[in-house]
């Protein structure tokens, strides 16, 4: 009973807080734009609609053409700074943009006269600095952009990293003491994309941590487990800044952190370091490398003589699987589908050619053309989320869709250390952006959006793990078992 009362009290408190926040928000933002649609009360919605209607009617009267919001007055697009403004304003409303846009249907064709409606604070907004110097979260309010912007859908993500060969990373001054030189080297290879693929990136990171731990000497006055955790965390943060870490890296780091926190107070530094290094080696060997060997073995049981296997991207475990199946004397051929921007299929093509397997190499546009003859679709995943979503190279969702249309089974190879408790239902909420390719020349009204990962929600027949082939729905179960 008492617990229930507590719950009630808690609820009431939360409610009060919510109300307070809402009031604050309303004070800051009379138009109520930066909150999702659902948060508006009925009355608010009606009021807004009426305002819009009024605005529309105003427009109908010639000579009294008034745009509905501040951005409208820039809407002719010739002004590039207005574009930036709209990009910026959309930053923290990105997910609401679609909704909000529907609410604020405003044909923007007129540049003049300046807005005269009830948006005194939006006039101020025109003077806000361009996107680069201000992050969206600093803005006290925001308004929907004049048009829905595909790029603004991704403005919550960090801008794409352009692989720069000569880029040297200077560690942040206040933490520079803890940043190991090998971290800087690693960061450079990440940001240059010389190390890619979730397995390779994870192993490279662990090797880097091994060096850090090897060189680590705990300060006299500090507890090793605490201090080493701090050092590792700082290094990891720098690594993450060079390029968003993959789930495999995150999981490996969590594993390492757990090991470090388990170091006892009285343990000798050298022995503790030895143990740590050994554990990392074990992790690399067993959890990463051995796992993919087992996956290759498990997966190769699904390869039959005469099979035509379609693969996408260049996964280490899929490569191993092909080698294994060939070793078992199976007669099959492979269709490598390649997709921009990574074009990893070329690497796969080279590998399969070395193995002597008959390969058909096609572009992404040929998916539907080649899918008819395929008997099995196989690709590797970057991560598996506990809601059963498969995170993989962008394009894999398309491959899965077309496979589904032709009723072809799709198997995804994934080591269990890439399983994550996170959930994601589309590829927009969390992703990594890719830079604009050189062939594409952007113009004032055109831009580029590229993403690195796809989230495959359905259509996957099974996941090949080192524990066998399981359905995607079992990810949560396996995660629980592993704990």
């Amino acid at each position: 009973m008492s617990t229930e009362e507590e719950k009630e009290a808690e609820k009431a408190r939360k409610k009060a807080e919510k109300a307070k926040r809402a009031a604050e928000f309303a004070a800051k933002n009379p138009n109520g734009f930066s909150k999702p649609k659902e948060k508006l009360s009925k009355a608010e919605r009606r009021a807004k609609q009426e305002a819009q209607r009024a605005a529309k009617e105003d427009k109908k009267i010639p000579g009294k053409k008034a745009p509905t919001n501040a951005d409208d007055c820039f809407a002719d697009g010739s002004n590039s700074s207005s574009q930036e403004t709209s990009n910026m304003t959309s930053n923290n409303t990105s997910n609401n943009n679609a909704n909000m846009a529907r609410l604020s249907s405003s044909p923007q064709t007129l540049a003049l006269p300046p807005p005269i409606l009830n948006n005194s604070n939006s006039n101020r907004k025109q003077n806000t600095p361009p996107r680069k110097s201000s992050t969206a979260s600093n803005l006290p309010y925001s308004q929907p952009p004049s048009t829905v912007d595909a790029q603004s859908l991704f403005s919550h993500l960090s801008p794409p990293i352009k692989p720069v060969v000569t880029k040297t990373l200077s560690p942040p001054p206040q933490t520079s003491k803890s940043i190991h030189p090998s971290t800087v080297t690693l960061c450079n290879s990440y940001s240059r994309f010389s190390i890619t693929g979730s397995n390779s990136r994870c192993i490279a990171m662990l090797e880097c941590f091994k060096k850090i731990i090897g060189d680590y000497e705990p300060p006299k006055d500090k507890v090793m487990s605490m201090d080493l955790t701090r050092v590792l965390k700082e290094n990891f943060k720098v690594i993450t800044e060079s390029r968003v870490h993959s789930i495999s890296m995150g999981n490996a780091f969590t594993f390492l952190k757990n090991l470090v926190t388990k170091i006892k107070h009285n343990e000798e530094t050298s022995a503790a370091k030895e143990n740590l290094l050994f554990a990392i080696d074990q992790f690399i060997e067993k959890t990463v490398q051995f796992a993919s060997d087992v996956i290759a073995k498990e997966g190769s049981t699904k390869v039959k003589n005469g099979d035509v296997i379609l693969t996408y991207g260049c996964s280490t475990s899929v490569k191993k699987l092909f080698a294994k199946a060939l070793e078992q004397g199976k007669d099959f051929r492979v269709i490598v589908v390649d997709g921009r921007p990574e074009l990893e299929g070329k690497e796969m093509l080279g590998y399969l050619q070395e193995l002597g397997i008959h390969v058909t190499y096609v572009g992404f546009n040929s998916l539907s053309y080649v899918m008819k003859e395929v008997s099995l679709v196989l690709y590797g995943a970057a991560a598996l989320l506990s809601n059963g979503s498969v995170v993989c190279r962008v394009g894999a969702n398309g491959v899965t869709l077309v496979a589904g249309a032709y009723r072809k089974p799709v198997l995804v190879c994934c080591e269990t250390y890439k399983f994550s408790k996170k959930v994601q239902i589309d590829a927009i909420t969390h992703n990594e952006l890719t830079p604009q390719p050189e062939e594409f020349k952007s113009e004032p009204n055109s831009d580029w959006v590229g993403v690195k990962y796809d989230v495959v929600g359905e259509g996957v027949a099974g996941i090949v793990t080192e524990f066998g082939i399981v359905p995607t729905t079992s990810v949560a179960v396996i995660l629980r078992e592993m704990e």
Partner: protein, 477 residues
């Protein structure tokens, strides 16, 4: 005066032998087709084409000056509608200048042209479709002339009767019921009423009876070099009823007017499609489109400029041809906000898209569409996200009477795998670069055409309006 009896290349050439300039124009056009100057027009705007065929040969006749100029001016940028228009004008000049005498003969000429076009350029159905359309037009005009306003009394028919009986040389061969049948058809009266010339009447009546009688050879021997009739012709014309081979004075003019209407249709088609833009695009919409399409470009521009709609277009680049880059530049230069994405990111962005617009290479009888390769994935992804897939296309020359399972079904075509950018000497590697995808009708929500919005399930019905079932589905010699 030469006549044409069979829809072969040779007979057409013999028929055209007295019209050297027409024959020359035809040959020049066929040569351009064979040289691939009209190849894959949907990809003709590719910025860099790895294996460019060197410019148009210099041995081309002066007659082709205009054509050559157009190609040179824009550098292979000849759209399919321009190609169709070109073909139409050629057909019109052939039909307009030569001395055919009857609808049947005209149909033979058209069938011969269809075969020639097909053998020179089978990969694109637009030429065959145009010819088929013209053939249907000829049939319709002929049927109209056959059944004009029914004349008031049967009296006049009766007065005609003895005349017919007298004229027919081998009257005994035609049984009385035959006569009564033919007289009951108003065409006889119409021929009488409108043709004061007796010889014309004679011809038309003769033909009428010839088609009904069994022993034709006797009469045809009289006119060895005479006009074609159902027995001395081959091809589809064999199945034509006899009255198709009768001369009708106003027929030529009506056909030429009809041709002009078809040409106007071609030119107006785009405008009619564009007029619907406002009905389908709302403010602040995110529209996804694939690669390059002039029809969609114009459609979107109309919505932006005329309908004053603000929307955002996401364009899939359409690798390996990158038509999407060209499309993006075209649209953005006119003020449309565009974002270009990799083809692989289509599925990632689809959940936020409101509308998918796809171009069509051909629309098949079942309502399926032949579209640029890669667009099948777009349609699948759209369906998975409940985004409506709308095909914007003119029906004037893209509507095909064949179903996707018949023979050459989806008109697949391939281009050089050099586009893939992978060099391999190995025998163990296949490189494929197909041009088209077939999109089944169940993935398509709507067609926006020059005759309005059409459901895929209604396409078959439109077919019967523009084509005649008796005309060949494929023009094969």
């Amino acid at each position: 005066m030469p006549h044409i009896y069979s829809p072969t290349s040779e007979s057409l050439r013999t028929y055209l032998s007295t019209h050297a300039h027409v024959l020359l124009a035809l040959d020049t056009f066929l040569l351009s087709l064979r040289l691939g100057e009209f190849n894959n027009p949907s990809y003709s705007d590719i910025p860099s084409r790895p294996n460019e065929i060197p410019g148009s040969p210099s041995f081309r006749a002066t007659d082709s000056g205009e054509l050559k100029e157009e190609i040179n001016k824009e550098g292979r940028k000849v759209s399919r509608s321009a190609l169709t228009l070109k073909a139409m004008e050629l057909v019109r000049s052939i039909v307009g200048t030569t001395k055919w005498t009857s609808a049947g003969e005209l149909l033979i000429i058209l069938e011969a042209l269809g075969r020639l076009f097909h053998s020179s350029y089978a990969k694109d159905p637009c030429l065959s479709n145009t010819i088929r359309r013209l053939m249907n037009l000829v049939r319709t005009v002929e049927e109209d002339l056959k059944t004009p306003q029914p004349t008031p009394g049967a009296l006049s028919v009766n007065t005609n009767l003895p005349l017919e009986g007298n004229i027919v040389p081998s009257g005994a061969l035609s049984p009385p019921n035959n006569i009564s049948r033919s007289t009951s058809t108003p065409s006889m009266t119409s021929a009488f009423a409108q043709n004061s010339n007796n010889t014309d009447l004679l011809y038309s009546n003769l033909d009428r009876f010839r088609s009904d009688s069994i022993s034709m050879s006797e009469t045809t021997t009289l006119t060895e070099e005479g006009p074609p009739n159902p027995t001395n012709v081959s091809g589809i014309a064999r199945k034509l009823p006899g009255y198709f081979f009768s001369y009708k004075a106003e027929f030529r003019q009506m056909v030429m007017e009809g041709f002009q209407e078809v040409i106007d249709d071609l030119e107006e088609g785009r405008r009619e499609i564009n007029e619907q833009a406002g009905l389908h695009i709302h403010s602040n919409e995110i529209i996804l489109t694939y690669s390059l399409s002039r029809t969609i470009e114009n459609f979107l521009l109309h919505a932006h400029q005329k309908e004053k709609r603000q929307f955002h277009v996401i364009i899939a680049e359409g690798a390996p041809h990158f038509g999407g880059h060209v499309m993006a530049n075209k649209l953005s230069s006119k003020g449309v906000r565009v974002t270009v994405i990799n083809d692989s990111a289509i599925t990632a962005l689809m959940p936020r898209v409101n509308l998918l617009l796809l171009p069509a290479h051909a629309i098949l009888a079942n309502g399926g569409v032949v579209a640029p390769s890669g667009s099948h994935l777009c349609a699948l992804s759209a369906l998975a996200n409940k985004v409506p897939t709308v095909v914007v296309s003119s029906l004037t020359f893209k509507l095909c009477p064949m179903y996707p399972h018949e023979g050459q079904d989806i008109m697949q075509d391939f281009v050089s795998p050099a586009f893939l950018g992978v060099g391999s000497e190995s025998d163990n590697v296949d490189l494929i670069c197909p041009v088209h995808d077939y999109i089944p009708p169940e993935l398509i929500k709507l067609f926006i055409t020059n005759v309005g919005g059409v459901l895929p399930s209604y396409v078959y019905r439109l077919l019967s309006e523009v084509y005649c079932v008796e005309d060949p589905i494929v023009f094969k010699g």
